[in-house]
Amino acid sequence: MTPSFPIEFCVLFLGVVLLLADAFFPDMDKRKLAHIALVWLGGFLVATFFLRPALLWASPAGFYLADPLGIFFKQFALVATMLTLVLAIEYAPVVERAIPGSKPGAGLGEFFILPVFTCAGLMWMASAADFIMIFCALELVTISFYIQVAYLRKCPASLEAGTKFLILGALSTGFLVYGITWIYGLSGQTGLSAIAGAFAGIPAIPQSSQTALLFGLGLVLVALGFKVAAAPFQFWVPDVYHGAPTPVTAFLSVGSKAAGFVVLMRVLGPFLTVPEIETRVITVLQVLAGITLIYGNLAAMPQTNLKRLLGYSSIAHAGYLLMGVASVGSPLAGRAIVFYLVGYLLMTFLAFLILIPVAKAAGGDDIAHFNGLGRRSPGLALAMLLAMLSLAGLPFTVGFLGKFFIFEAAMQEQQYFLVAIGVVTVACGFYYYLKVVRAMYWQPVPVDAAPVEFSPLGRFAAAFLAALILIVGIFPKPILDILP
């Protein structure tokens, strides 16, 4: 039974120690750093299970909130970071080739260490209950992602992705702080519970203040829309996902989106207590969810590059999650969103984990590079098949149940139109996810196909993720019980 606030500092301290180790032992094999980080993050993950919300260092007016949701997302961030490190170890040869240094492995250390700092930011975001805290944690995550996206500094695609991410990310930061300014100006508070208290203190908000408040909240929503990749703020996603190193793409699509949704749910909390504002916010969320669903799924159809395809698929998944946020009045919505994010973590990381060795062997990450994988390495193809079917939402996988719970919550809130859009776009999803399956099982093996090499650690992680997709898809009860 320990208080929760030291956990983030431990993660941060781990990152600093690893940076020092990287600097002071230049001849060390840098993969060791990743293994050390994996072991320690695993230890912190175990430690989080001994945190009890009731005994936590948190006050209702404080800036740090360690409720069950916050603790769950700390565990989520730790798991995502560990999987990213497994992917990064798998991806290390590509990084070594892209950053020629004076000795082998130069510049590889930070590639393993930066995700640890991002993890600390994600964990703080999970507990942030004050706009100051939200801003700082969000920037820790975003700035460390700028470096990771542009990490392959000799590779024009990575640099270009980094520059685009930098400009659009900084733009969304500008919107966020200006929005916070207006919310502060009208409530006089930066803490979320204090803002809710300020609204509760006045009987009716005058019309002019309502407009200004909605303006501020709208700017904050734009900024969070950037983070979770919701249309129409999604235009950075395909390019950045395509150009970034593959482990970073996976981390960006899972970590950044999950943290964005936690913050979104927390920020909307105080505003949904005001009836005049609530209806308008819900309408905006419905429109955003509809546009995001349609755009993500339709634009994914003609893609030929798997990373781009997964980028558009990430937009589409943001649409389903936004549908859950728009149904926030239903008691089922919160759990549905969290369950969806868990499923999204499993299937996205599995897809990227299989992509890395296949891309290494075939020399590119187009869907065509998966041709005949079913015969070349049946195990990998089977895992990829599972990931794709789950992303598409086939029954008996976690992806199906995630969508099912979201639709259930939306039906309870009588959002039939949104559910109709959702069902139609799921059908579109089957088309583009099954393109990968078709390439693996129905296309001939290319004549010059190199054998696909996959490390034991990667194999273990892939088998673990694939098993979880099936087990949680068939028996969701244990997971649903531990969800907040």
Binding site: Y146, G162, I167, A170, G174, D239
Partner: protein, 106 residues
């Protein structure tokens, strides 16, 4: 005597100039200047709100002023990382114009 509204007009003007700079300019360095201007617009209005809306004890709201310091610090960190990326981009492509960023298209 300037009132709160005056400060808010100036801050709104700064924000709009920054946003227009980001949208209209084609040089990444100028775009970056626009981004910094947007952050400083927020700083100005935060300080103005904090000064003109004192709390029950008559003191200004210090939360906003603390946030301003964090924004300044974060903006500095963002510039440090951002300029490094732009320098790396210039070394690789010999350009800082957004039209030349066309490697990633489908």
């Amino acid at each position: 005597m300037p009132t709160l509204a005056h400060y808010l007009y100036v801050s709104g003007a700064l924000f709009s100039i920054g946003l227009l700079g980001v949208l209209l300019r084609r040089n990444i360095l100028i775009i970056f200047m626009g981004l910094e201007l947007m952050l400083n617009a927020a700083n100005l209005s935060l300080v103005a709100f904090s000064r003109f809306h004192p709390g029950l004890d008559g003191l200004p709201g210090y939360n906003a002023q603390v946030l301003v310091f964090f924004i300044i610090t974060v903006a500095a960190a963002e510039v440090a990382v951002g300029l490094a990326i732009i320098v790396a981009l210039f070394r690789a492509k010999q350009t800082v114009h957004v039209e030349d960023l066309d490697t990633l298209k489908f």
